[in-house]
């Protein structure tokens, strides 16, 4: 479904990615891991054309994504939940959800069933939500575009344990529904039982790829520092 091969990305003169390979098959949930500053978010920015890759291939369902503007990439069926719960603070919860919706199985009812708190807060402006609720809103907003591939960047970072649990439960539900997902996160204990495959980045390169069961102590020590 998604095939990223050998991409190199620069921020101005400084190179951030030196050859990232990443593959997501339809229906798969793939974890993108690595310590801070190893290029996870840059990979996602390149995927969405926000910081275009200078070389390499990015293909989604056999279509070349490089050189497409972000909105076209999103329209092809990629949904982004950006790092740091980016909602539109001045809009209400419902406006946030509906403005970018596209037809498909995910509609307001489905999203509000997944996150009942969003239904309770439908008319509140997004900035009055707690951090966890904003994260739910960001995920809900992405789901409303009915993406064939959902990309979650640090969806549980900096949230209270109770909320994290709720969000992981929602991600579980997505997994059961066969939602293809690329997920960036640091909590291995939650991630490993959930995902089908893992890719680890180090210094802007794909350093390791494999099944979660193969991710042994050695690899964890070496690449993840845990």
């Amino acid at each position: 479904m998604l095939n990223i091969a050998g991409i190199e990305t620069f921020y101005g003169p400084s190179q951030a990615l030196f050859g990232v390979d990443l593959y997501v098959a339809a229906g798969e949930m793939v974890a993108l891991m690595g310590r801070n500053g190893m290029g996870k978010t840059t990979t996602i920015r390149s995927l969405f054309g926000l910081t275009p890759a200078a070389s390499g291939t990015i293909e989604f369902e056999s279509r070349d994504l490089r050189k497409l503007p972000s909105y076209r990439i999103a329209r092809l069926g990629l949904g982004l939940v950006p790092e740091g719960r980016r909602c539109f603070p001045n809009l209400t919860v419902r406006e946030n959800l509906i403005a970018t919706a596209r037809p498909g199985q995910w509609d307001l009812m489905q999203v509000e069933r997944l996150f009942p708190r969003l239904a309770e807060r439908a008319q509140q402006s997004a900035q009055t939500l707690s951090g966890g609720e904003q994260q739910m809103l960001a995920i809900g907003r992405a789901l409303m575009t009915n993406p064939r591939l959902l990309v979650l960047d640090e969806a549980t970072e900096g949230l209270a344990p109770v909320i994290r649990k709720e969000i992981w439960a929602a991600i579980h539900t997505l997994k059961q529904q066969g939602q293809s997902t690329l997920i960036v996160d640091k909590s291995l204990s939650e991630l490993l039982p959930l995902v089908d495959r893992c890719t680890i980045l180090e210094k802007g390169r794909t350093a390791w790829s494999g099944l979660p069961g193969e991710l042994d102590e050695g690899i964890r020590d070496r690449y993840l520092g845990v």
Binding site: S70, G79, P82, A99, M109, E112
Partner: protein, 348 residues
Amino acid sequence: MTRLHKGALDKTPGATPVPMPRIQRETWVNWALLGLLLLAPMIANALGEVYYVNLATRIAIVTMAAVGLNLAIGYGGMISFGHAAFFGLGGYVAGISAFHAFDMTPVLSWPITMPGTDNLLVIWLVAMLSCAVLALVIGAISLRTSGVYFIMITLAFAQMIYYFAVSWPTYGGEDGLPIYLRNQFPGLDTNDPLTFFLICFAALVLALAITARLMQSRFGAALTMARLNETRLATAGIAPYPIRLVAFVISAVITGLAGALFADLNGFVGASMLSWHRSGEIMVIVILGGVGRLYGPLSGAMLFVLMETLLGGLTEYWLLFLGLILLFVVLFARGGVMGLLAGRARHE
């Protein structure tokens, strides 16, 4: 644009019902202002004070021009410093049409013969269409830039049109063009000040209703998103550019219609309607009233026109006081008059 059909926001099937929010203070303020604008000229008319009826008409028209600009600046974040181009174009459509109708000469003789008309419905339609086309061109080019460049390029376009009008002798050039007989609305006597006020008032209410409806729609939410963060909007699959362009065109059409009414109110259209002072004046009204507040333009225009009339009668340096008030608003009352009367906006 099919994805952004109007009204999706509150008619989405399957949405859990949300209780109606109770009527807020801002709504009361809005109705009070609108009621004041409607009642004052009626009372003045009953007392035979035609001057005040015309003053209210002026407020209604200037408000409408600012309602248009507010859509661009307040909701769309497009700081257009060239809306006088649309205000003036609307005015010139009314003026030129009346000029030919009076002279019984055709407006166009090639490729088709188009006679002048004094029918307001036709004039308004032509004024709105011309403004839409002009805004499409100006917007398509200007919206490729942002920030201060957008301000400058919209100003540049407006100045081009201003100098064109000044140097085109057929329609008066620098001297402007008088409208000897006010254009006619079928079935109504537009020469009656109160009737003409009511026409303008109805147009204003329509413009407010359209703006409100638009901003409650999915289109409005997307426009707000484009203002707040266009990257985030783009990663959700919506291109910000066409949304802004459509909003810019609608904004220009509203301001253009106000221009057509303004020309008929004054019985005169001149290049001053196209000048950058006029763009600034409309912008000042938007800021005074409260940027991005639906009724901000109404409160701003009331304050502006009253100051112009009252202070302008006392001293020719009344703009100094306007400047001081503007300074106060920008420094201490960011919500403008609406902010003072109705508190902070829901979205602030």
